[in-house]
């Protein structure tokens, strides 16, 4: 696979030709940048993927069960597994969604689960993204183009084809379609992920719609056609966040959004994927409870591990956190004016003490995690092979069944010290190969 390196220029030329970009705002101006692609893939052996696949399906099934429970009976709270304040003080919890049962009972249709592999080879879940996880389009098109540039590599390595993502996504949409056309709803051309929205519309044969193209009448969603024949919409894969979906239910000042979309959804006339209100399940604080959810709903032991996490609200955890603060990462779960993410090792003695006092005063406000030392991946930088931190976003699709896409987005950091692998921070991406044997 290292022979791909010499084809870097040719592959990048192909990526430019197909407009593989992401948008960023600089000085309030919109710019599109090429998303730097590193040709050396992440390779996951077949047995390892089998293991990940089982664990990811289990995790997503439990998260779906949790969402169904939270917006109806709330048994997990009544049984004392999840403290209620983690649910009701989460900004992702939307009381407007109480009691709504989405088509086929599925809440998270497309789940983006972020994992990292530690130096000892163990995989850890870093976070769950159950709202609008993005990024599948990049390895999808990169694979297509890499195969064109160097077919030999694919001949020599038995790699599972990942170009079925469009089909998987279309089937996922059809599994909940309430009768009508399939629509991918984008906030517009100047969204950071517009390339992905338009590419997935093409690959799934769906209609790419802007909010103003949709309207609701008598609790039914229609696509406004230029010839005056409105088309009924049965499923919306929306790439607009919850608060902007419907100005009459959520943010009244929202200029994008489809008025009365929530009523149509509540009436069962349209599927929205992912469903509004999913933020309650991918919150920093709720993360701690996912292994417990797996035990509670599925009566199974979790296959994949969380990064070791502590909740200072529990006595035992608090003692540990206060004693080991300098080697932990502290995350503030308070939404506004929070401290964000702090590494204990970066704090001065004085600041460390300040943080300890704060944790004692407001133990429910923080979570603490062990730092995971990522296994670095080889990446080319200016023609030189270097080692960089990388994570993996796995895409798990839930329709008739839950399936894991045999690929994923591997993002790497450009800065050798940084653990932040984010495209807006100048990082790049790699394809993820899953070997077929």
């Amino acid at each position: 696979m290292f022979e791909l390196v010499e084809h870097t220029a040719a592959i990048n030329k192909q990526l430019a030709r197909y407009g593989v970009r992401f948008g960023i705002y600089k000085n309030n101006e919109f710019h599109e940048q090429l998303f730097p692609f590193d040709t050396i893939p992440r390779v996951i052996p077949a047995e390892e993927f089998d293991f990940l696949e089982k664990g990811l399906i289990q995790r997503v099934n439990a998260l779906n069960a949790f969402l169904a429970d939270i917006y109806s009976e709330k048994k997990i709270i009544a049984d004392g597994i999840v403290p209620e304040e983690f649910v009701y003080s989460s900004s992702g919890y939307l009381p407007q969604c109480e009691g709504i049962v989405p088509p086929n009972g599925i809440f998270s249709h497309i789940s983006g689960i972020d994992l990292v592999q530690a130096e000892d080879g163990e995989w850890y879940i870093l976070e769950d993204n159950l709202r609008i996880p993005s990024g599948a389009s990049y390895p999808l098109i990169a694979r297509e183009l890499t195969r064109r540039v160097c077919p030999d590599v694919f001949y020599a390595n038995k790699i599972r084809d990942n170009r079925n993502y469009g089909d998987l996504l279309r089937e996922t949409m059809e599994a909940v379609n309430c009768g009508g056309i399939r629509v991918i709803l984008t906030p517009g051309r100047y969204n950071a992920a517009f390339f992905e929205h338009s590419y997935l519309a093409e690959k799934t044969g769906s209609i790419l719609a802007m909010p103003q193209d949709l309207y609701v009448e008598d609790n039914v969603v229609y696509y406004r056609s230029y010839d005056g024949n409105p088309q009924r919409v049965g499923v919306i894969y929306r790439r607009i966040s919850d608060e902007y979906l419907d100005p009459l239910t959520f943010l009244p000042e929202s200029l994008i959004g489809v008025p009365h979309l929530m009523e149509a959804y509540k009436a069962g006339n349209v599927a929205i994927m992912n469903t509004p209100g999913n933020g309650v399940a991918d919150d920093k604080g709720i993360y701690y409870f996912v292994p417990k959810m797996i035990q509670y709903y599925l009566k199974e032991e979790p296959i994949l591990k969380n990064a070791p996490t502590y909740l200072p609200m529990y006595e035992e955890d608090r003692v540990y956190v206060l004693e080991n603060l300098e080697k932990l990462v502290i995350k503030d779960v308070a939404e506004a004016g929070g401290y964000g993410v702090v590494f204990g090792r970066d704090l001065s003695a004085e600041k460390l003490q300040e943080m300890k006092n704060l944790i004692q005063k407001e133990p429910r406000r923080f979570i603490a995690q062990e730092i995971i030392y990522f296994k670095d991946l080889t990446t080319m930088e200016d023609g030189v092979a270097v080692e960089r931190k990388a994570d993996l976003r796995a895409f798990v699709l839930t329709g008739k069944t839950t399936r894991v896409w045999a690929s994923g987005l591997t993002r790497f950091s450009r800065n050798p010290e940084s653990f932040v692998v984010n495209s807006s921070q100048g990082g790049g991406f790699k394809d993820t190969w899953v070997l077929s044997r």
Binding site: R17, I141, I181, S225
Partner: protein, 224 residues
């Protein structure tokens, strides 16, 4: 499927127009440039006048440079190509990534032409890419409506430029009939009497020569 929003229908129409504008103005540019080989000094200001664009160039050298590459000049080729891209990029799902890639290639080629020592050859490649783009749209566009709207835009633009730039009578006549056969299929409401009026203006070469402005005026009011 085949549902197309009003906005998309407009984008298809303008995608047709802008790609045609790039194509035909590049052809005209090449002819004008060729004349400089013999004449040294050509009437670039007259070209601007017939194109109906402001002469903001001041000199022939500036014109030959900026008319191609100045993105601040809304009449330039690069501006038209950017507008074509603006319309194409939101239509990926309708026209296909494959078709859209030819617009990217044309844009890249135009950038390369700027520093190239064989500029006219680069311009030739842009024409090649546009032909490939149109062929690709013909083959891959999701719907007949999309093809019709784009072609309708293309032939409106072509008529306009052919009439302005004194393309041969046969070519004007041919593009008129192409427009005529396409316009009804596009599903956009249009003024039938304007279409007929254009027909009357181009009934013969002599009539056309006397009625160029009138034909252009009618064309401008076709969809009003």
């Amino acid at each position: 499927m085949g549902a197309i929003s009003l906005e998309k229908s407009q984008q298809m129409y303008w995608l047709g127009r802008y790609t045609e504008r790039v194509f035909t103005t590049l052809q005209a540019y090449t002819i004008l440039f060729d004349e400089t080989v013999d004449e040294r000094q050509v009437l670039y200001d007259k070209f601007c006048q017939t194109m109906g664009i402001p002469d903001v160039y001041g000199s022939q050298a500036v014109f030959f440079e900026n008319f191609l590459f100045d993105s601040n000049d809304s009449s330039s080729v690069v501006s038209s190509l950017d507008r074509a891209f603006d319309n194409a990029v939101v239509l990926r799902d309708e026209i296909s990534s494959e078709s859209l890639s030819y617009i990217h290639l044309a844009m890249e080629q135009l950038q390369m032409a700027r520093t190239s020592r064989e500029r006219l050859l680069d311009l030739q490649s842009i024409l090649d890419y546009l032909y490939a783009f149109w062929g690709s749209v013909d083959d891959r566009a999701n719907s007949e409506v999309c093809r019709n709207l784009m072609k309708c835009g293309r032939y409106v633009e072509r008529m306009d430029l052919y009439v302005r730039l004194h393309f041969s009578y046969a070519e004007v006549e041919r593009s008129y009939y192409k427009l005529r056969s396409r316009i009804g299929k596009a599903g956009m409401p249009y003024q039938e009497e304007m279409l007929d009026c254009i027909g009357e203006c181009i009934i013969s070469e002599e009539v056309l020569n006397e009625n160029r402005q009138k034909a252009l005026n009618c064309l401008a009011q076709l969809f009003s």
